[in-house]
Amino acid sequence: MNPESVKSFVTYYLQGLTERTRREKSGAKWGIDWVVYNLGLAKFGKPIRLPFIRSGDLGYPQSKSEAEFGIDLAFLSDDNRELTIFVLKDEPLTNGTWTRNDFDRDLRMAIAPDLRAQELSSVESVAIVLVYNKDDQQNGVELFERFVAAAPTKIADHVRLSLTRWNLSDLVELTIQHVLSPSLLPERFFGQLSYVSAQAADFRHGSEAWQTQLVPNWRRLVEDVLAESDGSRGPALIPVALIIVRQHATSGPSFATGWIELLEWSAVALWRLYIKSSDEIVAVGVRRFWSDFYLAELEHFYRTHIGDLATEHSIDTLPLGSLVGTVASAYVAHWHIARLGLLSVDLEDRRNVSPRGPDERAEKLREVANWMAMLVNANVSVFRPLLDIQHIEWFLLASTFRNAGRLEDLAHVIGGLVSRLYPRRLGRSSLPFIDGANSLTNVFEQVALKPDPPVVLCQSSFFILMLLELCCMLPNDLRDPLVALIHRRLVLGAFDVGDPGVERPLDLMSWLPPADWSKEVLEDQIVEGQCVAVGAFANKREATAKEILEGMHRLVTCMRAVQPEFEHLHAVPMAACILSSLLHGTPLPPELWRQWAFPIHSADTEMKD
């Protein structure tokens, strides 16, 4: 993550804060007082005056009702010689606010502190710092400069007095420099974020501890932050929290991908907030996070690491010595396919919130497709889907090639996949075939122990039906042989020549998602919707592509009759919904690819020749 991005998101967070942290009925207000308090601790010694009582109810500081005499916070240096006084404002410094918002009044009171207290007897200098987390105007600055010029330089003849101001940029810089840690967040979240940061540094991404402890803890933290914030503060705090976690865990060898996963859970939570909130400022914050944080980070990640990923067998070679490693490398390969695919889908999405022009977007699409092709060419694990749910990754792969106009490459890749799945379909491989009922745990157990009877199934698949349907967006000369091949080899499990064999035909499965899929998919794994048992499109090995295509068209027509129009909540990017599907293990609506393979205007009338 580059420093400019960090600065940008810290700025975004700080400028959204109020002057004081307090809990209100409408939600918690997070103030710069907490930030300055932590800065003071880091730079200026011990606090002698605070605007709140620490450790108040529910993790929020309790505001003091006493008169403050213009002084919000004061810190005494460790040698008791320097006193630093902060005057906080959450307004811009302008000509209008100088008096209206009491800049002038508070500063006048602040320059005359009471130094009679015993602990201040050694003070030799007093520094007054005006802190405001908004922008300023020249007139406001001029007023401040004049005030400084007119102010006394000493207090009681022996104590030096100085005045200075921190505008938003200064505050951001100092924050990044000194308090980019869990203490930057409101006290309420300090413990949670510290815990998550420590776990992120300790746990290996993907390990059991990561899955069962860190991810739930992070999701809880994000939920809590979003639930307790109002306006843009929640969406603004999440990236800062992520930056803090990253700062703690960046030395972990597996955190590069772990960071992406934390971003993804955050993105899904933010889109969920987006749907629920009517506040435009929230929408802006969510969209900003999605495009400028998550997608930017994803793109940066692949720009940095594509050289490694495109090195021959770099993913395939991960763990050696058993088929457990073979399965694991396939999982990792599909993880990367999915993320590259999301980049492409988002670029192609017309509702994309990023302000890229058509040419730039096309160029980007080609670049992402190149990355995908490089990864596919270098790693055979790509051709080893193990679970039916990995149809999501393969849809994203197909989308990436399609979006870049590389349909021939797509046909070639699907052909390669069919060849490699074929021995598995026939049971001639130690790796199991795809089945909707198999889980990663089952597959691992199967290859590790080879139990008899096997713990995996080879009976039904949504993936294979999707593969057949994906072929339908290819030109006819590429489509027909592939459709016949997939049906013969993978659906029927028949030998190409001679005796057709005794394999039971695969039960092809499809799915009618619930009407509010776009919304539901952001919540959790979807259990609603209707399963459609399709079976095989023909029972003989010699079935032609035409026969199979007719069957597929009939299926699509019938399913569209039941669910006439697939509704997508347009405001949420499709890539975000697919990302949520990936994270929650929810199948994709077939219409996502059918819109290309069986366009509405022609599917109901007649199939392509």
């Binding site: 993907g206 490694d308 060849s419």
Partner: protein, 648 residues
């Protein structure tokens, strides 16, 4: 006390006999001189005809009766006198002397006492051979004895003494033996009990030659067996015709009559017939018809015991052939090949095959090579199985010792038969063949070269051997060019990525080749790039559930390896396994009532095997390449037949 005269003539023997009488534990003369003296005295005594009655009376008092003490005394003979035929003869003489002191009622009881104890049974049977050769017994006397003795040793591998007793009984008490066989048949013997009748009939046939008066009674027994309506009895009869001195061997006419009358496919008579052929095959002048009959009956479906006898006969024939009668060798080989394939479970036949091969490797290597080619072509699958199970591994050692491994490998590697080629690769690999000779390479057709390359491609073999093989055929393949050369170079590159062993061996063997060194260098560089890239932060994630699965896999792997080691280790299978709970560095053993002194150090043994990398990195590609190679082989085999026809 032994008589003084006896003790004077045979001092060592007299001393030992006294010790046998009195001592509680065995005291076989420990020094070489005493053992030599004792042996000489036994030989001298057995050559004399003097009575041993005085010796018995001297040892056991007068009047001598063969009581319990005497039986106990005599059954300790092996312990005190050592194990030799002379001891058996001496003890048999003592028993014959003893039994002469018995009345009729005591003889049977004495005989039974001799075989009462299981521990001394085999010694008793050894000694009794001489007894039955010296004393006539009635059928009534010996029937229960033979029944009990047969029951005791019938399932044992060592039956020499028992059969020796029966043979001696048939020779000495021929008439009573005929009666005995009749009674034995009355009991309707089954299984191994039939062997008693078989053998006795065979020995009686020899005995009646010298006593024609018994011929009618013997003929009646023969007739009863042949016409009894039992397949097993007819087989018994045929088998009994296998024994005999050369001039009594069954003649061709009689044999063919037997065959026509009794032998049917798959019957017990067929097994007996093969047994008969085996015994006759090497007896002149009968060998001609016996060979002819063996050829006639040989077929792959021959029942297992029958196949065994024909295989033994032909392999022995092959082993006995000298070069100048090699036409018979061809005939034997032809008969043997008709029997193939031999099942992997036919251990007896395989033992004989390996024995013959070893013998031929010493004397006639060409014939050994021919036999191996025949075996590989017709029984390759089972031979492969046996080779994989590491049975008879000594043959491969012998091949290497005799420096014939390369020739045999070449014979088989360029063989037309698929399994023969596979076996060739196994021999190439297991015998560490350095390479294929230029002559063999030049003599091979392009198709043979391609077939060999494809066969190696689709088999899992030692990777060092694969590198040696491929480096040998590289130049030929380059000259063939086209798709084959492309595939070959691809395969070399792939295998370079697969194992270090292949890479290093190829770098050594093919250092002068035009392309292969570059392929090795390129692969090394690619592997280095992969290793560097796989350290990328983008690839350090752990897959959920992988750690648990790897633990399960490793535990299973360790269990299977331990089980396999125990199965294949004579040492480990002989001793109980003790699981050590505490103290893993040293051990002591508790024996009786004390700890063995001084702790023993634990020893660790381990073995390393290089895992072929691509079998896990890219199992699908490896599988598909093998399938493609198999398809191409099938295509070439079809074409090969046509080509062979045209070339011939």
């Amino acid at each position: 006390m032994t008589p003084e005269v006896f003790a004077a003539r045979y001092p060592h023997l007299a001393a030992v006999l006294m010790a046998m009488k009195t001592a509680t534990s065995a005291n076989f003369p420990p020094d070489e001189g005493s053992r030599a003296g004792l042996g000489k005295e036994l030989v001298d005594l057995n050559q004399s005809t003097e009575s041993l009655h005085n010796v018995l009376e001297g040892l056991f008092g007068q009047p001598f009766r063969p009581n319990e003490d005497f039986v106990h005394f005599s059954l300790r003979a092996y312990d005190f006198l050592g194990v030799s035929n002379d001891v058996c003869v001496f003890m048999g003489r003592l028993w014959a002397e003893a039994i002469s002191a018995c009345d009729v009622s005591q003889r049977g009881a004495f005989l039974m006492k001799l075989i009462e104890e299981r521990e001394t049974l085999f010694g008793a049977l050894d000694f009794a051979v001489e007894l039955f050769g010296r004393v006539k017994f009635t059928a009534n006397e010996v029937f229960p004895w033979i029944e009990k003795a047969h029951h005791s040793v019938g399932k044992d591998l060592f039956q020499r003494g028992f059969w020796g007793c029966l043979e001696a009984y048939c020779t000495k008490s021929t008439e009573e033996a005929i009666t005995f066989v009749g009674r034995w048949l009355d009991t309707n013997p089954q299984g191994p009990s039939l062997g008693v009748a078989t053998n006795m009939i065979a020995w009686l046939r020899l005995a009646v030659v010298s006593d024609h008066s018994l011929s009618p009674r013997f003929a009646a027994i023969e007739e009863r067996v042949r016409g009894g309506g039992h397949s097993a009895w007819r087989a018994l009869y045929i088998q009994s015709r296998a024994y005999g001195v050369p001039h009594l061997v069954i003649g061709e006419q009689e044999a063919l009559q037997l065959r026509d009358e009794y032998v049917r496919h798959g019957s017990e008579e067929e097994v007996a017939w093969c047994f008969l052929l085996n015994s006759v095959l090497h007896v002149k002048p009968h060998e001609e018809w016996a060979r002819r009959e063996a050829r006639r009956i040989s077929r792959p479906q021959l029942p297992e015991p029958a196949k065994y006898w024909v295989a033994v006969a032909t392999l022995d024939g092959l082993a006995s052939c000298s070069d100048h009668v090699s036409d018979h060798a061809d005939e034997y080989l032809a008969i043997f090949s008709q029997l193939l394939p031999i099942g992997a479970e036919s251990t007896g036949i395989w033992e004989h095959v390996y024995g013959t091969l070893k013998s031929l490797l010493d004397t006639r290597t060409e014939m050994a090579r021919t036999l191996m080619k025949t075996l590989a072509a017709h029984s390759g699958e089972t031979w492969l199985k046996i080779a994989r199970d590491r049975q008879f591994a000594s043959l491969f050692h012998l091949l290497r010792q005799k420096n014939l491994h390369r020739f045999v490998a070449e014979d088989l590697c360029f063989h037309q038969n698929v399994t023969a080629r596979h076996l060739g690769l196994v021999i190439f690999s297991d015998c560490n063949v350095e390479g294929i000779s230029t002559e063999a390479l030049n003599a091979a057709t392009d198709t043979q070269i391609e077939l060999l390359f494809l066969e190696a491609l689709r088999r899992l073999m030692d990777f060092g051997a694969l590198a040696r093989l491929q480096s040998c055929i590289a130049t030929r393949i380059d000259s063939i060019g086209g798709d084959l050369a492309t595939l070959f170079h691809e395969e070399c590159a792939l295998q370079c990525l697969n194992t270090y062993k292949y890479r290093s061996e190829l770098a050594t063997c093919a250092r002068n080749h035009e392309y292969l060194p570059d392929i090795v260098a390129d692969a090394t560089e690619r592997l280095a790039n992969t290793a560097a890239a796989s350290k990328s932060p983008a690839l350090q994630m752990e897959v959920p559930g992988m750690a648990r699965a790897q633990r399960m896999h490793d535990s299973k792997f360790v269990r299977e390896v331990a089980k396999s080691v125990k199965e294949h280790s004579v040492f480990l299978s002989s001793f109980p396994t003790v699981t050590i709970l505490y103290g893993g560095n040293e051990f002591r053993t508790f024996v009786g009532d004390r700890l063995m002194e001084g702790p023993s150090k634990m020893h660790r043994s381990s073995a390393e095997v290089e895992v072929p990398r691509l079998e896990f990195v890219d199992p699908e590609t490896m599988h598909l390449r093998r399938v493609a190679a198999s398809n191409r082989i099938a295509q070439l085999q079809g074409r090969d037949i046509t080509e062979s026809g045209r070339e011939s």
